[in-house]
């Protein structure tokens, strides 16, 4: 696995406060770097190093949080490097693919027409392109359950709205430049709103509070307004 042949030396480790260690896995947004990030997460999950409380993957790094009363920094780093250098044999978990149903256009996606016009496409063509994409969840952040998705087609990449809307409803599917994503909670937002999913992306009362996790694959599927209303998951 060539993606994993990476130089795991002390240089890739840095501190984040007295309780955090950042593990740099590269310096670009790419699938190879992402695979390395996910390998490190799998490693942390399996190896159960003492004192490790949680970890947080991002585009090109993983940050782990630990209890220095159990293991001080140099001990955490020592064990970590030892594990990282054995990692070549680690096997990656098969990614999950999650289908997100979306009711495109109309009141639930007021900017679909605009996106279509901008690219000289029909709304149906925009939907066809958006639903044919194979998206990768690089990380979850910004808001609870908010996925940073890679893989939007350049054909429908559209700049953000000049003035953000004061209220974007939870479940809204948007396009912001070369990114696409779903607002998990109702918030102000500047992305082009092209549809809405009936699924709840943020589920505070459940065991796993986020529908998506870094490493997941996402596909969007077009549904009718009728189907949207039938599938709508309870408001928080």
């Amino acid at each position: 696995m060539t993606e994993l042949s990476y130089s795991w030396t002390e240089d890739v480790l840095s501190t984040l406060g007295e309780t955090g260690v950042m593990i740099r896995c590269g310096d670009a947004i790419s699938e190879a770097v992402h695979r390395r990030v996910m390998s490190v997460c799998t490693l942390l999950e399996k190896s159960q190093l003492p004192g490790i409380l949680e970890w947080l993957p991002s585009f090109a790094s993983v940050t782990l949080f630990y209890d220095p009363l159990i293991s001080p920094y140099h001990e955490v780093c020592g064990r970590l490097l030892h594990e990282l250098n054995k990692m070549q044999v680690a096997t990656l978990a098969e990614p999950r693919t999650i289908i997100i149903p979306v009711c495109y256009g109309g009141e639930l996606g007021p900017d679909l027409e605009y996106v279509a016009t901008e690219h000289g496409l029909t709304p149906d063509e925009v939907i066809a392109i958006h639903t044919s994409g194979d998206y990768l969840v690089h990380m979850i952040g910004f808001a609870p359950g908010f996925p940073y998705l890679g893989g939007l087609s350049e054909k429908i990449a559209t700049p953000r709205r000049p003035t953000p809307r004061l209220r974007v409803e939870a479940g809204t599917v948007g396009i912001g430049g070369k990114q696409t994503g779903v607002y998990p909670v109702t918030t102000p937002g500047g992305w082009q709103c092209i549809g809405r999913t009936p699924l709840a992306l943020f589920r505070p009362m459940e065991n796993l509070p986020s529908l998506l996790a870094a490493g997941d694959r996402v596909r969007f599927a077009s549904i009718s307004l009728q189907e949207y209303l039938e599938q709508k998951e309870g408001e928080r």
């Binding site: 940050t63 949080f65 952040g141 808001a143 009362m205």
Partner: protein
């Protein structure tokens, strides 16, 4: 039984030590801003350190107690009174049933913590009772307190029950509504609360990206806390900080106390309700032992940053933890003894 909110104050929320283990789902730990004051408040009423407390900001609430309760107030001095008598801070206090606890002018600090023996009981969400104001979940219905809310209280620990009993006997004998023992947590134990605090920071991951002048200014000059500061972040105004050359770092983890510098060159310190990830250059990280001091600093206060190493910061943190464990034991013993002697 419950505690009734007659007036809610400016921003009173239920908080505990925060929500750990969910950063990877975009959920920040949150929790109390001044971890020292909250922990002291809990210890003084015999609670475990993770019990939920009330965090009250600048303008305190007015609360009616329907039963005899052992409480403690730590952190900012919001001039609390019962029947026009001052409620002492940093010590256990018994309030008899029917008492109304009122808060007045903010005399020092910004956030006051009230612990109640048994802790405030609200549903635990993701292992925590903290209010997430931004997303609106956790704590008391995911929001700040309002008029008419009623806070439920859990069962007091054995030591707290002993102390409560001892204090009630004394109070009833003298016909007092409120009574506190003579002992308290001495100011020698507190963090160095100050309106012009010196905050110790260690270098951030991008310190080397800033030019020499900027690094020097950051550690020499005073920064004023801007009114646009809240539980999410403190915006600072002062000497402009500049990079050697523009950098484009991918967004990655940040934490409580991370000092970011956006393009305008004015630093922002991320506080308890920070985003889980951030993309601005990070010039420094506030030492954990000094976060409580910062949490009590208010808009207009002036902060200076003193440089320490990562090793020093971790050592200070470990020492404080060990001191706490000892203090906690001593306080529990004191509480239990109050039942014996009175």
């Amino acid at each position: 039984m419950s505690i009734e909110v007659i007036r809610p104050g400016l921003l009173s929320t239920v908080q505990d030590e925060g929500r750990m283990g969910f950063r990877r789902y975009g959920i920040h730990p949150g929790g109390v801003m001044d971890t020292f004051a909250a922990r002291a408040a809990n210890a003084l009423v015999g609670n475990s350190r993770d019990a939920a407390v009330l965090e009250m900001t600048i303008t305190g609430p007015e609360l009616r107690f329907h039963e005899n309760r052992l409480i403690s107030l730590c952190g900012a001095d919001l001039t609390a009174t019962v029947d026009d008598l001052s409620v002492p801070l940093w010590r256990p206090v018994v309030l008899l049933a029917g008492s109304v606890l009122r808060f007045g002018r903010c005399r020092s600090g910004l956030r006051s913590y009230m612990a109640i023996a048994g802790g405030i009981v609200v549903p635990e969400i993701m292992g925590s009772r903290s209010t997430d104001l931004k997303t609106g979940f956790g704590g008391f219905k995911g929001r700040a307190l309002k008029v008419g809310d009623r806070l439920s209280v859990g069962e007091a620990s054995r030591e707290a029950q002993a102390a409560l009993h001892g204090l009630i006997v004394e109070a009833e004998k003298n016909n007092w509504r409120m009574h506190a023992p003579a002992w308290y947590l001495s100011s020698r134990e507190w963090p160095a609360y100050h309106a012009e605090p010196v905050i110790r920071v260690m270098p951030g991951k991008d310190s080397a990206e800033f030019n020499e002048d900027s690094l020097e200014r950051f550690h020499k000059e005073r920064y004023v806390i801007s009114p646009q500061s809240d539980r999410m972040g403190y915006r600072l105004e002062g000497a402009k900080l500049e990079l050697v050359q523009p950098m484009d770092r991918l967004s990655e983890a940040v934490t409580y106390g991370t000092v970011q510098v956006p393009a305008d060159g004015q630093p922002i310190i991320l506080m308890a309700d920070h985003h889980t990830i951030g993309g601005y250059p990070v010039i420094a990280q506030v030492a954990r032992v000094d976060l409580p001091i910062l949490a009590q600093a208010k808009p207009g206060d002036r902060v200076t940053f003193e440089r320490i190493t990562y090793e020093e910061a971790q050592q200070l943190f470990l020492e404080q933890e060990l001191e706490w464990r000892l203090a906690d034991q001593l306080i529990r013993r004191r509480l239990a003894e109050m039942g014996d002697h009175q």
